[in-house]
Symmetry: C2
């Protein structure tokens, strides 16, 4: 038995430290490396222990747990979705996650994941487009300019070489915020007055709106042949963004069908409507985009493996970056009695120490 | 909109602070109050959102998530079970948990739960015995003297008025540890050389062993009429402690049948073998112990509602005890941009602050 010091300690990445870590590496680099990390994990998809997320619904929102494991590491994310939060000055989505060692069950990392989820969602979108979008796509419509918008724009710039984003949101203030934040990134940013205007000349259309309803951000006649649609905002029961007729014209790619059929745009379709699994495109088992005229649709809902990839990515950075940068703090989270069967004795010794 | 300060902060109870909190209140009081808190929640059982725990199994152990909600609060526990850990100087079971506000999805408490689980498991056992054990039971056999043993002894003393515990473990060192830790508690402690000797004169038999196997801690001829069996250690697939014939002679009470049929002693029985739900005994919907000759068996596996009760209990203590006692620390866990849609802007402002 080797002595392992500080068994009780779990490294914790706070929101502030996550921002410092991301800024230290650079947002573009993080998005690119995250996309690569997710792709590596998608290529070994069959290895993972997969389950649709475990959701607890209420009238105003949902709280979900998203676990997965590759047999060596185990990860899960806690995430809420409360569309009404925004009006109360709160985040619609907040999250944190944990990585653990399958061999011992001991946690090895606790991390904020609100920022990390924003980054991994954008990296996942760009990764899907890398495999599905028409060759040479340079212009993206970005409909919905909320908390996820800038991350999407930057991921598509970093991973797919997008040069222009055309912004539209029901609320012009959101578009102004997004455009201002993207200043100096090298992206050409065009604020548009309607969804119709935003999609002019765009080879990629990203929809990422927040309201929980059967919305119709895009109608069938708006979508021409040859585009790639990145549908991010339709991600829970009762929340969709695309008209059903668009889905019927599209080649639909998903993360994990049992989850997407419940949560994605395809909740509007028959339960046996054919969809393709993105990981199989990456391994070459099935073809991606058929030709220049096809409409490809990534019906994104977010799957546990993406969070696993993101947690392992930041865990890896903690191992390789100088400790002096202090991107994590030590949490005393695991009871560690000197003798494992003597948990109560640990309490007694603490009592003696407090009296002394 | 009211301004809520420190939206980003989640109070965290470390292992050290949990020990300080428990010692401040006193172990006996905590066990008694926890049993009362669990009983209150069991009495409103139908209100809860219930699901069998979500388990990720490997060759050497299991990692589980145990969520539940009463519609106002949401709680979950992360817990591992690795019987081989003990031989490596690690805890077989470690745990932490989280409580969140259903209305916003925001976490309100993160807590160590290795110690808290030991306490709630013992409180639950004693609570079940309060309803099921023969009247005037004063002597308990305690077979398996590992990490959970002292907590069981103290809970049965505090909640059921047990005056004597008779200890047995395959490893005499475990029994010596347990007996030494129970010195000065007022319990009469008798170390026994066999399970047969331990159960002599005991009205309650608690089995709480750790090895993952179909074990036979008790055989049918050892168990006389009129006893209450508190079977704690049979709690996952492939891990049981009692001979099947004992089960067939017993009135079996469980927490949540869909989970117990997978994990409990009753995994040895037909899937439709009749069992009774403990919460219905507490609400008076069904009868408990029939007569003095009945064998009652609490087939304990641990259910999410017990962890929810425990988390809410310590959360309540944080609200009422003086802040100066500092039983929790502030974790910067939730991203809180000034404008909820401006998550990326928060990153930009951090960048500006770091440069300045």
């Amino acid at each position: 038995m080797t002595t392992r010091p500080n068994l009780n300690i779990v490294p914790f990445i706070s929101v502030d430290n996550m921002m410092r870590l991301v800024l230290h590496l650079g947002v573009e680099r993080v998005l690119t490396e995250l996309a690569a990390e997710i792709e590596r994990d998608f290529r070994r998809w069959p290895l993972f222990d997969k389950t649709p997320r475990v959701a607890s619904h209420s009238d105003v929102g949902v709280i979900e747990l998203m676990p997965t494991s590759d047999g060596e590491m185990y990860g899960f994310k806690y995430v809420n979705g409360h569309p009404k939060n925004m009006r109360e000055g709160l985040q619609t989505v907040t999250a944190f996650g944990l990585l653990a060692d399958v061999n011992t069950g001991y946690p090895v990392l606790l991390s904020e994941m609100t920022i990390l989820t924003a980054l991994r969602t954008a990296a996942m979108s760009a990764l899907a487009a890398k495999w599905l979008a028409p060759k040479g796509a340079a212009c993206m419509a970005l409909i919905g300019n909320g908390a996820q918008a800038e991350f999407q724009a930057l991921a598509f710039q970093a991973v797919c070489g997008i040069a222009e984003v055309r912004l539209y949101d029901l609320d012009p203030a959101a578009t102004r915020k997004c455009a201002a934040n993207l200043r100096g990134t090298g992206l050409k940013v065009t604020a548009c007055a309607s969804a119709e205007e935003a999609i002019l000349g765009a080879q990629i259309i990203t929809t990422v709106t927040a309201d929980k309803q059967y919305a119709t951000i895009l109608t069938d006649n708006m979508v021409g042949n040859g585009v790639h649609i990145n549908a991010v905002g339709g991600d829970c029961p009762g929340k969709t963004e695309l008209h059903r007729d668009i889905l019927l014209r599209s080649d639909i790619y998903v993360e994990y069908p049992p989850q997407t059929r419940i949560e994605g745009e395809i909740q509007q379709l028959a339960p046996d409507h054919p969809v393709k699994e993105l990981w199989q495109v990456m391994t070459g088992q099935i073809a991606g985009r058929a030709d220049a005229r096809a409409i490809t649709l990534f019906d994104s809902v977010g799957f546990a493996i993406e969070d696993f990839s993101a947690l392992r990515y930041v865990h890896g950075k903690l191992q390789t970056l100088p400790k002096s940068l202090a991107f994590s703090a030590d949490l005393d989270m695991i009871a560690d009695p000197d003798e494992p069967r003597d948990l109560y004795g640990m309490l007694l010794r603490k009592k003696a120490a407090l009296v002394a």
